[in-house]
């Protein structure tokens, strides 16, 4: 049942496994749900294990269940359901007895009549369809035999809930936005615990020694100081402007909270040539050679840019767009220098991967591992940075 839904979910990148699906089937077979609403929440609780995928789930749900009729039109279906003797098994003894008292057809005709007459929501009455009353239509009421219509909490249908897509902002594959900086920051925390295990863990040592009947046994642990040094190089000017502000916010915030041992950031335009700049207007220059000489290899380097330029800017001597930046080394040679000098480098690209087939992007991808500037991409990039060589 609903097997296609399973595949739709996977197509929409929700990581559902067979075991979880079987759990859902088990829950369905026990008869826990009575409406599409219940199914929506049940399936979500069992199949989706992170709020980052709630939006993907909503999209898949809409896709699969579109065209489901809204509740007021199902009176026909109620009647058919009740007529089927097999379904009577689901009712208790009393309910069955009561059904025999009220003739089904009569009840249904009444329902249709009142649906036409009633124009607004009504509570606690004996005639209209509403809540908490003694009328046979509505819910949370006192009438012994009746039809349940709607549900607690306003009765929004599952389709409408899925259409609202209220979890859109929790997705991890949208381009980084200021609202998601906090979530992205948590991804950077992985850059936190590195360094050799060179601190003596006193409690554990005593414990281990005692367990060893007095023979000294030393237990080590990693010190919590952040040994990570970060170098951030950002492409500025033109199409990169909105992203630059975001990146500098992100990384400065990271620096303030996780306190990297050293954090430096510089700007460049399109590609790195003989100079990098300390400010966005590119007036305060530092020579790239100086950077390479003074920074040790164990800096983690993150380059942010769209890697998009005329091939001559990358490959030619004097290729730099600005006349005053007469570079003797082609841009690509500089990039290779950086990749060779620093042990860990990654390139973050705010453009979507559809645009990564341009010639300059391809060339740069051969030098640096390139990731998207989304939370997912950031997490992958960070994993790449902390891997041991």
């Amino acid at each position: 049942m609903f097997t296609e839904f399973f595949y739709t979910l996977r197509e929409r990148k929700v990581p559902v496994s067979i075991t979880e699906w079987m759990t859902l089937m088990e829950a369905l077979s026990r008869g826990y749900i009575s409406s599409l609403n219940d199914f929506y929440y049940l399936a979500r609780a069992i199949l989706v294990k992170s709020e980052a995928y709630f939006d993907h789930y909503d999209v898949a749900f809409q896709e699969y269940f579109k065209g489901i009729k809204a509740p007021p039109e199902i009176s026909e279906q109620i009647l058919n359901w009740l007529k089927d003797p097999f379904n009577r098994i689901f009712l208790t003894e009393e309910e069955r007895a009561l059904l025999d008292i009220m003739d089904l057809d009569e009840l249904l005709k009444e329902l249709e009549k009142r649906l036409r007459e009633q124009t607004e929501q009504h509570d606690r009455g004996a005639y209209w369809i509403g809540r908490g009353g003694t009328s046979p239509f509505g819910h949370s009421g006192q009438h012994p035999a009746g039809f349940r219509i709607g549900g607690a909490g306003g009765g929004r249908s599952a389709i409408q809930i899925a259409e609202q897509r209220q979890f859109r902002n929790y997705r991890h594959d949208l381009t980084l936005d200021i609202r998601q900086i906090e979530v992205a920051l948590k991804g950077l925390r992985q850059l936190n615990r590195t360094g050799p295990e060179d601190e003596l863990d006193l409690d554990k040592t005593i414990d281990a020694t005692a367990k060893n009947a007095g023979d000294i046994e030393l237990i080590w642990r990693r010190s919590r100081k952040n040994k990570v040094k970060l170098l951030l190089l950002m492409d500025v000017g033109g199409s990169m402007d909105p992203f630059v502000h975001l990146c500098s916010l992100l990384f400065s915030a990271a620096h303030r909270s996780t306190h990297f041992k050293d954090f430096q950031y510089y700007y460049f335009h399109n590609c790195i040539y003989d100079y990098v700049y300390k400010d966005i207007e590119r007036r305060d220059a530092i020579s790239t050679n100086h950077l390479l000489h003074t920074m040790e290899q164990d800096y983690k380097v993150i380059l942010v840019g769209d890697a998009w330029m005329a091939p001559s800017e990358l490959n030619s001597v004097y290729g730099a767009v600005y006349y005053y930046e007469r570079n003797y080394k082609p841009g690509i040679a500089r990039l290779k220098q950086i990749a060779d000098h620093f042990s860990h480098c990654v390139w973050l690209n705010p453009e979507s991967p559809n645009y990564w087939n341009e010639p300059t992007v391809l060339m740069i991808r051969k030098i640096f591992p390139m990731f998207e500037l989304t939370i997912e991409g950031l997490q992958k990039a960070v994993k790449k940075l902390i891997v041991k060589r």
Binding site: Y41, K49, E51, G153, R189
Partner: protein, 290 residues
């Protein structure tokens, strides 16, 4: 069509729930799986477990996880040092190991004579491997103590509620076994209900002004830590206790220190909204802004 065993949890009188949450809890209870609850800090994850225990009238065992917690601690602890000490200095009978085996929270939950609710609070604080270490015990509801040779089996399967602050990613194998629920930040309607539970006699105007101010503060992205539900409750308590007139709330935002807990946030707030020199005393709600 609703099964007898289902739909047990309806919320308790002092904790307001949403339909999705009630559903998730009932599913977890019915399918006998742990319930994993995530959400922003201050949205009531820990309170949920208390509410479940109250609503189902079962007792609650709380296991607060620290960054140094190991899975073994939850099962049992064998106090070797005490035993060594007793053998040398004390005159207790040390031949019975059972005296030195102390059951951890999970062990306590297993040996309990009736069904109880077990809360594993802030599971993501511990090491990455911690949830995986517990997988086997949570599945089979039993564990083996080699020192005494006995196997502790749960007489009744406890209802396990696990909370996480989403600081770290939890391992996949662990996630597969859980029922998941994300507690979103309450929208204004739900928030009103929550406040009314805590302050049943609150005046409408005060409530609406406070809520409006609160949500507008939350819209400001420059705050490092946005005010959350528990802070709102504290703030309203202060506002009521100080008899602040409701007109003063949106214009002056008195007692902002109850809402904004980070120094940078409070400094930003003072500089931008109050245009006064930054002081350490709370803003007097009767002073008019210059």
């Amino acid at each position: 069509m609703v099964n007898d065993g289902f739909d047990k949890f309806k919320g308790s009188h002092d904790y307001v729930t949403s339909e999705a949450l009630r559903n998730a809890v009932n599913v977890a209870i019915a399918l006998k799986r742990p319930l994993l609850v995530r959400g922003e800090p201050g949205t009531g994850k820990t309170l949920l477990a208390h509410s479940i225990a109250k609503g189902l009238e079962k007792s609650l065992i709380v296991w607060n996880i620290k960054s140094t917690t190991k899975a073994q601690e939850g099962l049992y602890v064998y106090d070797t040092v005490q035993r060594l000490n007793d053998s040398r200095f004390g005159d207790k009978d040390i031949s019975d190991i059972r005296q030195y085996i102390k059951l951890g929270k999970l062990g306590e939950a297993f040996v309990s004579k009736e069904e109880i609710v077990l809360l594993i609070d802030e599971v993501d604080k511990a090491d990455l491997e911690f949830p995986n270490d517990l997988l086997n015990e949570l599945d089979e509801m039993s564990f083996y103590i080699p020192e005494t040779g006995e196997t502790v089996v749960a007489t009744h399967r406890p209802i396990v509620v696990i909370t996480s602050n989403a600081e770290k990613e939890l391992p996949d194998a662990f996630l597969r076994r859980c029922i998941f629920h994300y507690i979103e930040f309450p929208d204004p309607t739900l928030m009103e209900e929550i406040v009314k539970v805590h302050f049943p006699d609150i005046k409408d105007k005060l409530l609406h002004q406070a809520l409006a101010t609160f949500y507008s503060l939350r819209k400001i992205d420059d705050f490092r830590k946005k005010p959350s539900t528990s802070e709102l409750i504290d703030w309203i308590r202060v506002l009521i206790a100080s008899s602040t007139p409701y007109e003063a709330i949106p214009t002056e935002i008195p007692f902002a220190g109850t809402l904004l807990k980070k120094e940078t946030d409070y400094a930003y707030f003072v500089n931008t909204f109050m245009k006064k020199k930054q002081t350490t005393k709370t803003v007097d709600s009767y002073e008019t802004p210059r």
